[in-house]
Symmetry: none
Subunit: 261 residues, 2 copies
């Protein structure tokens, strides 16, 4: 996620939204991703009042600006990105696929710029005239059969893309990544749910499971060697933690003792 | 965007959604990103009818499934990802930040798996019990002051993340081989050593292990519910293959029948 001082330089601009519920949904998505500057261009007055007075409306809706035209809304911005689909238009602006937006925004923020993300009305989106105020047109990679997104969802997806720019919090990385093998995890830490069992513990478990197989008549003599091999391979593949392994040892000890009664 | 045949193996699962408008919003986000498999767990009947009969409801809503419980909804899935925030919980599952989800999903699709993305009710999200059916918990990188997203927006953001990833090329055998050492892949072939067990098979195995615990006197009555929960979580973490699971089923069947003699 971008730091506060950078998010503070990003405006979300809605051009003539029709549905007050959509305005509320946009405000909620902004609050979720930590943005606070909303501008609404030429709102329909009754809907605008309704949206701002809705129960549970985020603070940022109280502080939202209304302007008469898009030019006024983006006047202070150094980089204006319109959103829309390419299905029905041939844009005059460079088209940026949303996944490529991050570095462009980062570059502008680094240079001290102010950025606007502009969203059109629910029905037809931004007009050619609206787009003429935009430096680029952002294309969200939707399905060509159903390209037009709900307004609140489109804003959520764009702000999520900006939240993506900075890697996940450092203090959560080890336990996540270790599951998928790309970062070494600390094997010593006892009791950690992810602390892996040492090979010797797996061998102990394998021996006990083999005893259980024998006691239960599961593994005929001819198969014992193959089963022992497969079990060793299986336990390495499953990679149970030290704690998992202790539990399984207790469980199979109990089974063997019952079977051998 | 993923190719059709891969998107076809991704289910969106809503657990007890309360608001019919949210169900419609989820369906729209799915249509935007080209997904068609929606399952709703324990829907409130009047709202479910209302959502499905809404004007302009996408086709996929007509074909949506309703199930009584989450176990049933994800029974055919080999990888189940719950969604939520970490604000009020300490999850037992590995946490994956949404921007890291793509490669994990790609890997499972390459192995011929079926994936569920699970979303909880609007108010409180997925419960600890719901999460025990999940292999991982996906964290959307939201602002800590306002972490809880609107349901339709959360679904849109997750599906956008999948739309972001470059589809794995079908002919890319080498990258798969490097993932799994020297084992050649053939993802569809049943019984492949890497073909993951579906959730329903894990439930079957868990039930049988529980019977074994009871038969062996390992699990006192007071502990049964806790052990059932822990076992569900453990099996998801170990992620045994379909073949592993069949073997373990055979093994525990034998143990139970001996113990019960």
């Amino acid at each position: 996620m971008l730091p506060d001082f950078q998010r503070d330089r990003i405006d979300v601009v809605l051009v003539s939204p029709r549905n007050p519920l959509n305005i509320g949904a946009v405000a909620r998505a902004m609050a979720n991703f930590g943005y606070s500057h909303l501008t609404v261009v030429a709102p329909y007055a009754p809907h605008w009042r309704e949206a701002r007075s809705a129960v549970g409306a985020p603070d940022l809706l109280q502080n939202a600006k209304a302007t008469e035209c898009l030019a006024e809304a983006v006047a202070a911005c150094t980089f204006v990105a319109g959103t829309g689909t390419l299905t029905y238009r041939k844009p005059e602006q460079p088209v940026v696929s949303l996944p490529d937006l991050g570095p462009i925004v980062a570059q502008h923020l680094d240079r001290g710029g102010r950025i606007a993300l502009v969203f059109g009305p629910e029905k037809h989106g931004l007009t050619r005239d609206d787009l003429s105020f935009c430096n680029v047109l952002i294309e969200i990679p939707t399905d060509p059969h159903q390209p037009s997104m709900n307004l609140g969802q489109a804003v959520a997806v764009c702000l999520y893309e900006l939240a993506r720019m900075i890697p996940p919090r450092v203090d959560q990385t080890p336990s996540i990544v270790s599951e998928y093998g790309s970062i070494p995890r600390s094997p010593i830490q006892a009791g950690n749910i992810n602390s892996p069992a040492p090979s010797g513990a797996l061998d102990l478990l394998a021996g006990l499971i083999e005893s259980t197989m024998t006691a239960a008549g599961y593994s005929p003599r001819a198969m014992q060697s193959a089963n022992r091999h497969d079990l060793r391979v299986l336990l390495r593949r499953l990679a149970p933690s030290a704690l998992d392994t202790r539990r399984m040892l207790g469980f199979f000890r109990r089974i063997v003792s019952r079977l051998n009664r």
